[in-house]
């Protein structure tokens, strides 16, 4: 316990999350994974956007960055390129990542930049009090879906895989040991990694959809998933409407910042006598 507390800026507590919220569970899973890996606290950099999930970074005892809505991955891209030695972790939510930040998500995955993205998917905009998100299941309710959500929801893990992420997994705030394992593997993957964590929002999603409080929501989340390994041997009717959890994709590929460093080395070899930008530009440009 004490080792986990050591990863928090305790003077920044108490946190702002509602009783029963799942974000603390995911944040706890992250620090447990970091602890297991024995990462240097001075070389871990959690970055977030806006929303309930994004407040997580502010409680952590690392260099932490709380940015603009949807833009965490773009800020993180700058940090990672500037200091590839840092372990950059993006903590985001379903609205922050899949709606306003969707484009950055796709392109960060495409580049296979070494950033671990943890998406806390509570299927709702919690900070603004209960509007539907791109991950709200069809037919469920939100304050902006008073007659039921007409839109189809994203499968973010499929999106990540199709966009080029090299490690993708999904767990829930019910399956905490699995969540820690997946985050640990994601942190070790040299490339763009995504771990989607299905979490409960009893305050807005649970109440609006009459799912119940935190405990009922956790049961509801558990009943909505099947482990990918078990799914292989189940008939299709048992899988209908279920989301898969577990490691969903693991396909290492050359990493962007490592390739960038190779490019720099190659360019610098071909411009061996190069003296710096000012002279270089003056002699190279037309």
């Amino acid at each position: 316990m004490s080792s986990v507390l050591g990863y928090f800026k305790q003077e920044y507590l108490p946190h702002i999350w509602c009783p029963g919220c799942g974000h603390g569970t995911v944040t706890g899973a992250l620090v447990r994974a970091i602890d297991r890996l024995g990462l240097d606290k001075n070389k871990v950099c959690p970055v977030s956007g806006i929303g309930c999930s994004s407040r997580a970074v502010g409680y952590l005892d690392f260099d932490t960055l709380h940015t603009a809505h949807g833009r965490a991955l773009a800020f993180a891209t700058g940090i990672k390129l500037a200091r590839p030695e840092l372990k950059v972790v993006v903590m985001t939510g379903d609205g922050d990542c899949a709606a306003i930040g969707g484009n950055h998500f796709i392109h960060a995955a495409r580049r296979n930049i070494d950033i671990t993205t943890i998406v806390m998917n509570n299927s709702i905009y919690g900070m603004t009090s209960g509007q539907y998100s791109p991950m709200t299941p069809k037919g469920m309710y939100g304050t902006t879906a008073p007659y039921g959500n007409l839109e189809r929801s994203f499968d973010l893990c499929e999106l990540a895989r199709a966009s080029g992420a090299t490690y993708v997994g999904r767990a829930t705030s019910y399956h905490v040991p699995l969540l820690i394992d997946l985050i640990e593997s994601a942190l070790q993957n040299k490339g763009f990694s995504v771990v989607e964590a299905l979490v409960q929002c009893p305050t807005y999603f649970g109440r609006k959809n009459k799912v119940g409080g935190a405990v009922e929501m956790l049961e509801w989340i558990k009943d909505g998933v099947v482990h990918a390994k078990a799914a292989a041997s189940l008939p299709p009717e048992k899988l209908a409407g279920k989301k898969l959890i577990g490691e969903l994709h693991n396909a290492p590929a050359p990493e962007y910042t490592a390739e960038y460093d190779e490019l720099i080395a190659k360019v610098q070899r071909s411009y061996g006598a190069f003296q710096g930008g000012l002279y270089g530009c003056a002699s190279n440009s037309d």
Partner: protein, 397 residues
Amino acid sequence: MNSPAKLMQGNEACTIGALAAGLEFYAGYPITPSTEIAELCAEELPKVGGKFIQMEDEIGSIAACIGASLAGKKAMTATSGPGFSLMQECLGYASLTEVPIVIVDVQRMGPSTGMPTSPAQGDLMQARWGTHGDHPVVVLAPGSVKECFELTFKAFDIAETWRVPVIVLMDEIIGHMREKVTLPDPSELRPLRRAAPSSPAGYRPYAADADGGVPLMAPFGEGYRAHVTGLFHEESGRPSGRGDVADRLLRRLARKVEKAAPLIEEHFEESLGDAEILVVSFGSSAMSALSAVRRARREGTKAGLLRLKTMWPFPEALVARAASRARRVIVPEMNLGQLAPEVERAVWSGNCGASPGRATVGRLGKVTGELFRPEEVYAAIMEAQPPSEVRPPSEAR
């Protein structure tokens, strides 16, 4: 000693200025008429161990620059009006979190897609007020190719010294025009770098004198474990919803740029001493204005030119002083009047002993997507003459 003279474009001089200032990171998205800056950075940065990335949009570009700057690198992006609009939210983020970055806006005709390859100066107010909330920014406007080098270099010094985003406000003419330029020897340049704390012990990321102090900036990854947020924050970096914390922070930020103003102000002037007709302009409009003022002088009209290079913080006292003997102030600009109201406010403010209200301020806006012809400014100067004073050109020397 200078480097050899060379024919180059404004966008090129801007890039060389950034590299001379120690640019290490560029993130951008292609947009006319700024794209040459990105192309040149893509080519040059790897040679010096720096990095270029073409992001998926301009929002991502400025965000990546802020991230790189927090990690200790000198960072820049370049864009034009539409992209600059997209950057506004994160520009406010950089202001509030005090992250040094340089943003080059090579202005084109707007609003919207407008005339993408035509020059304009319609972003002057966007540069100052484009993001929401009160916020400090510095905006510099080069008026020649050489100044693209000088002011971009200076933009980094200001950004690093005052921890403020600095906008280099160019226009299509300034960016694409080619001039013969002699640049200083790089070994003679002394680019500045942000002040860093000496030890993580007791480090408070936003501890600074309330009277416009600049906090010390620790780069990510060196053991300081600081929190940076776009929420209002205490000196410790911890978010705060307290009114007194917000008030103190916002006033410090505003005061910071007030204190910087006299140290960074720069302008060009010609024949101001006895000018009865004052022309105030910036960027490429001022090139035509200079030609018009010189012609009017040759013909015996007491005209003068004040060309602003520091647009924001607005040099109110300077403008008031320049207008103190003038009957008429003319403001040529490639928009429908963005600088003119600022000039009017300065002239009428009575700042620095000027007689309030003595001069009238005339707007000379041009929105055809073309550069001013010197004759257009000249005609405005002549119109400002009382009829008896207008001598036929034949009498003029």
